[in-house]
Symmetry: C2
Subunit: 133 residues, 2 copies
DNA sequence: TTGCGTGCAAAGGTTTTGCATGGCA
DNA sequence: TGCCATGCAAAACCTTTGCACGCAA
């Protein structure tokens, strides 16, 4: 059972483009524009419908960009499902946290509040070293 | 100097409604609809313009609701600016973290990554004790 | 008077939807 | 054949903007 199977040319193109841009936050129109440059013309409706499908399958994560005023989609890297991330509010850079840094906090919160943290959804925001200057 | 001063009836109504709903994520249309029920009819443009102003003043925080496909606005409780929060993904409950729980992590991350966490924007998501059952 | 705030309507952008068509099993 | 995906165009939203008017200092 392969969740990522695609039967049509359009879905193949869309997914390939997303996979090539795993680190980016893509809007539906980003994808449309790129495929258009390659002389492919899926309709914007097709893109939206397929993106929502991939979100439901857990292959993509949906976010929102205030700058672009549009929904953005991001590839869910399964290798990242077991650790936490820092995200710089200025440049958008993602830093992968080593587990030892967080495991203390997890157990403290578990003991004190009986609360189980979701490390896929949780992101620690702040300012990275480069942007401090 | 009072940042929250308002000179007009419209701004007064809008801000009052937001203050009554401090714990909620309101859209511009939520506010419009509520005031409409009270026979007040500020224009939607006025609401958007005032909300953006309050965001700039740091009185509101702007978010985005995927469900509503619209920007949402939330009152910034200044008493909360110096600690972190847990938010239950199921019931939406907010738990205020005592500082001692987090201070270790802050300094570890600062030392190891030279990254300064923003405790206003950062929210730890997960499942609370009541929703586990 | 001067400067803001407002309402209205229009415009701009994103996202969704209905329907007919087309392709794959 | 039957089902699902697609394209197209329209519609439905949300949000912003221009302009004229109104109100308060």
């Amino acid at each position: 059972m392969n969740n990522i199977e695609y039967k049509t040319k359009q879905r193949k193109m869309i997914l390939e483009y997303i996979e090539k841009n795993k680190d980016k936050q893509l809007t539906a129109y980003d994808i449309l524009q790129n495929l258009y440059l390659k002389d492919e013309n899926p309709s914007i409706a097709t893109i939206y419908r397929y993106l929502e499908k991939l979100v439901k399958q857990g292959i993509l994560k949906k976010n929102y960009s205030e700058k672009k005023n549009a929904a953005t989609f991001e590839y869910v890297n399964k290798a990242c499902a077991n650790h936490y991330h820092l995200k710089c509010e200025k440049c958008g850079r993602i830093i992968h946290l080593s587990n030892e840094v967080f495991s203390d906090l997890e157990s403290k919160i578990d003991k004190k509040y009986d609360f189980e943290i979701d490390n896929v959804k949780t992101v620690l925001y702040g300012i990275c070293n480069e942007c401090k200057n």
